[in-house]
């Protein structure tokens, strides 16, 4: 293991007194031994925000270094400064001891830094193979691109990641998780001395996460430094050697991960004391289930859509959380979209409160009280150029206006409530959503749907990319909402979240219902069994709509 090493710490903020004691060994020493990539006293300001404030950071060869912090703590910004996307306002970068400055990501890549950015950054319209080999296509002897080789190598490469897709398929036809794996394959297949991953697992399944870990292990053995950002604590503890904590753009701590327990780490991230943190459990769902109503609010029967959905039936009861489980591409998102009228169906019926909705559209679904939080927040969620306020009230606008004229006062009231309730961190409600950190964007979207006061809430990966604190808040919010009588459909790739949060789980496979778990069956072992399809799903359970929820 690497020797304990520390970075000069900035003066503690006022909150320091309350903080957990930081292990003393983590201080001292100036010249970090074997550092590949260093940032010294870098600061980065955006209009109205100090995203990085005098942060010093170093990454050593062969280590896997965790970078943690709340949403908006500055993790992605630090990464972008390290890789030439942003220029630091102050401070300098060093690569193997030499001072460097990257004017463009291109230069950082040339220098051997390979990065997977937080939002999947590939070209959606181009094929999988082209994306992987962009900028370094294999050439034949005429200097022309050798597509045969490119497709072969892509298939091989992705096989190593357990992903089997047609390399000619346009990227955007893949699910977000698969796209993430492609990005990963691209980043790792470049010969790099540093690999940076900004929340690579946020849209991955347990199985893909395992693959990723294998890849990281392999990188470590080859002496390659990995910088790893994630909000999932258990992952950090499994693979990371050291950890750096950022809070509000400041460096808080660097040290061996083994020296810190979860509580300490979380309290450092949040800047709250341990007792306060320990009160909230791992997931913040209440221990007991909810009391569901006897008649369903929402029933779906025989939803089918060319190649994607096959006779999916389910029903949702007021006051319950129904989990929707499945692997990547199993059709969970499609199901949710179909329920929200955002996807046209070949056949099937959707009923709300006993009334069948014909030719459901998004607007119609919203009117009927169905809200969908989409999974791809960049493409389908935020309107980046609009303010936080307007993004929150987007769907509710007609209700918050009189005779077509918007009422600022009414908007402000709602926005105020939700920014407080979800603890959205923004310079002001007028800040552009595009400038918020990923987690805060997610909260803005949640606020958009909650302020509609829906009867049915469909949540597609609601806690993706959300920090521990916020995740807990969102989870307890889901709990509360169900308790208040809302029907919640929860899609999550986080098995823990699904098991603890859901009262009942419908499992999809290949676009069809593979099984349903209710009551005591809602447990990890059962779920994995159905997911992995060891046995055909119990025949009687397939049409879930007929089942009693309890």
């Amino acid at each position: 293991m690497a020797p304990p090493e520390a970075v000069p710490q900035p003066p503690e903020p006022g909150a320091a007194a309350k903080e957990a004691p930081v292990p003393a060994a983590a201080e001292e020493i100036t010249a970090p031994a074997g550092a590949v990539l260093e940032a010294r006293s870098v600061s980065k300001r955006f209009p109205g925000v100090v995203a990085l404030d005098d942060v010093t950071f170093s990454l050593r060869a062969g280590e896997t270094h965790a970078l943690v912090g709340e949403n908006g703590a500055g993790k992605s910004t630090l990464i972008k400064v390290l890789t030439g996307v942003y220029q630091p306002d102050e401070g300098e970068l060093r690569l193997t001891g030499q001072q460097v400055s990257f004017a463009r990501p291109f230069e950082a890549q040339q220098a051997g830094i390979s990065t997977i950015y937080q939002e999947v950054n590939l070209v959606p319209l181009m094929s999988v193979a082209r994306n992987i080999f962009l900028g370094r296509e294999p050439k034949n002897r005429f200097g022309l691109i050798d597509f045969g080789r490119m497709h072969r190598e892509t298939t091989e490469l992705l096989d190593g990641f357990g992903v089997r897709v047609d390399p000619k398929r346009p990227l955007h036809t893949l699910g977000i998780g698969t796209q993430q794996m492609v990005a990963l394959a691209r980043a790792v297949s470049v010969n790099a001395q540093v690999v940076i991953m900004d929340e690579p697992t946020s849209s991955l399944e347990p199985r893909e996460v395992e693959t990723l870990f294998r890849v990281i292990e392999d990188l470590r053995e080859r002496g390659i430094a990995v910088l790893y950002v994630s909000h999932r604590m258990d992952e950090l503890y499994r693979i990371c050697d050291r950890v750096t904590v950022l809070r509000d753009g400041r460096h808080i701590h660097t040290g061996d991960l083994a020296d810190l327990d979860r509580m300490q780490l979380v309290s450092m991230m949040l800047g709250r004391d341990m007792a306060e943190v320990s009160r909230s459990g791992l997931t913040s769902f209440g221990p007991e289930g909810h009391d569901a109503a006897r008649t369903p609010v929402l029933t779906a029967t025989g939803l089918s859509r060319n190649h994607q959905l096959h006779h999916i039936s389910l029903s949702l009861y007021a006051g319950e959380v129904l989990g929707l489980g499945g692997l990547l591409g199993s059709g969970r998102s499609e199901t949710a979209k179909a329920l929200a009228g955002a996807l046209s169906l070949d056949s099937g019926e959707i009923g709300v409160g006993g009334r069948t909705l014909r030719r459901l559209t998004s607007a119609g679904a919203i009117r009927a009280g169905i809200s969908l939080l989409p999974e791809d927040r960049k493409a389908e969620g935020i309107v980046p150029g609009l303010s936080v306020r307007e993004n929150i009230v987007l769907a509710a606008m007609p209700r918050l206006s009189r005779a077509g004229v918007v009422s600022r006062a009414r908007q402000d009231r709602i926005v105020d409530i939700f920014m407080k309730r979800l603890r959205i961190k923004a310079a002001s409600p007028e800040q552009k959503v595009g400038e918020l950190s990923g987690g805060n964007q997610q909260k803005v979207l949640l606020a958009r749907w909650l302020c509609l006061e829906p009867k049915v809430l469909l949540l597609d990966e609601p806690t993706r990319g959300i920090d521990v604190g916020a995740k807990a808040e969102v989870q307890s919010l889901i709990d509360d909402l169900a308790r208040e009588g809302l029907a919640v459909l929860l899609i999550s790739s986080d098995i823990e979240e699904l098991i603890e949060g859901a009262d009942r789980i419908v499992v999809l496979r290949g676009g069809a219902v593979a099984g349903e778990l209710a009551g005591d069956e809602v447990a990890e072992s059962h779920l994995l069994e159905v997911l992995a399809d060891h046995s055909p799903a119990p025949a009687g359970k397939a049409p879930a709509a007929q089942e009693d929820p309890r």
Binding site: V85, R104, P105, F106, A108, Q109, Q110, T115, Y117, N121, L122, V123, P124, L125, M126, R130, L134, G135, R136, E137, G143, L144, I145, F147, G162, V163, R164, V165, D166, R169, T173, G177, T178, R186, R207, N306, H307, H310, L327, L328, G329, R509, G510, G511, A512, L531, A532, D533, H534
Partner: protein, 353 residues
């Protein structure tokens, strides 16, 4: 189609069988021999709705107008279309990067005037001068778009004015017309022909061949698609985004200048009034050819069909006979709607996933 989706955990290595692929259309073999010719043709037509439209129009017109499907007519139509084709080639590349070049019409005219002026010093000068000047204008466009981060629409709108201004200044407000020496090699370039098909046609075809290769089979071409598909992603992937954009506008300027020079050679003079509105024709051809205006997708061959389709429509309007000029506009506007809508629905039918 499910065969390409991620395989389930348990049976990763086995070829995936979709349990519920009923009615899933023809399952595409993962590997294997290329499909039969008929199927390939069908696929081609589907991918390029414009080709289908073009063929339909040509076939129908051949039956209705006996003077349409003649070799003579084909020669005339194609040679006139070749200049627009060369311009549209550059435009295609620009549009694929998500940009647009409105200056091509003016640059085309300027290229012609410069070529005619320089032709007094011989063949090479007549090509070199317009290419240098027009390339420089393209380069200016590129720098303003890529390095200064200005919107292509407005930058090239300004150079549309600017190039026309330079042309007027160069010709004493249009009073001077430079002539290409009769019988010179340069004049031959525009007027000569092989079996009645003018050199400009051959030049355009060669350029399209090269353009197709560049676009599909070189890193530069791939970068164009990446830049157009997602400029941010391309930057983050470490592609030379700015350099590519500069190059592509320079290329567009060059090609417009070349087309202008060829046209001057054909007309034997540097006519000042040509090229007005040519940018819109080029853009329509590109878009009709299936290239997305937002960038990231498109094809050179589509553009070629688009150019031909526009030329054929024009020709047909003349075949129809004595249409008043106002009706001509109405008819070509109507035709345009029919064509793009038809192309749109043809293109849509393959996106049924």
């Amino acid at each position: 189609m499910n065969e390409t989706s991620p395989a389930p955990v348990a049976q990763a290595p086995a070829p995936r069988k979709t349990p519920a692929a009923a009615g899933g259309g023809a399952p595409r073999p993962v590997t294997g021999a290329p499909p039969p010719l008929g199927q390939r043709l069908a696929e081609l037509l589907q991918r390029q709705g414009v080709l289908a439209v073009l063929l339909t129009v040509v076939i129908v017109a051949s039956f209705i107008y006996p003077t349409f499907a003649t070799l003579d007519n084909a020669r005339g139509v194609t040679v006139q279309a070749s200049f627009l084709a060369v311009v549209a080639l550059g435009m295609t590349m620009v549009i694929i990067t998500g940009g647009i070049d409105l200056s091509v019409g003016s640059v085309f005219a300027l290229g012609g005037v410069l070529a005619a002026w320089a032709s007094q010093w011989g063949f090479l000068a007549a090509l070199f001068v317009p290419l240098v000047v027009c390339g420089a204008i393209g380069l200016l466009n590129g720098f303003l778009v890529a390095r200064a981060g200005m919107a292509p629409f407005i930058v090239t709108l300004a150079t549309l004015l600017g190039a026309r201004g330079i042309l007027l200044a160069f010709t004493d407000e249009g009073a001077t017309t430079y002539l290409v020496p009769k019988g010179s090699a340069f004049a031959e370039l525009g007027q000569g022909s092989v079996r009645g098909f003018g050199y400009p046609i051959l030049i355009a075809l060669v350029l399209f061949g090269i353009g197709g290769l560049v676009l599909q089979r070189t890193s530069f071409g791939q970068t164009l698609f990446a830049v157009g598909g997602s400029s941010d992603a391309a930057t983050l992937m470490g592609l030379p985004v700015a350099r590519t954009k500069v190059l592509v506008y320079a290329l567009s300027g060059l090609l417009a200048g070349l087309a202008g020079a060829l046209n001057a050679a054909r007309l034997s003079s540097g006519v000042t009034i040509v090229g007005v509105g040519m940018e819109l024709d080029a853009i329509s051809a590109v878009v009709i050819g299936g290239t997305l205006l937002i960038g990231g997708a498109g094809s050179i061959s589509g553009t070629l069909w688009g150019v031909l389709l526009l030329a054929v429509i024009q020709n047909l309007i003349n075949q129809i006979g004595s249409l008043n000029s106002s009706y001509q506009s109405v008819v070509s506007g109507g035709f345009l709607i029919v064509v793009v809508v038809a192309q749109r629905y043809l293109a849509r039918s393959r996106r049924t996933t």
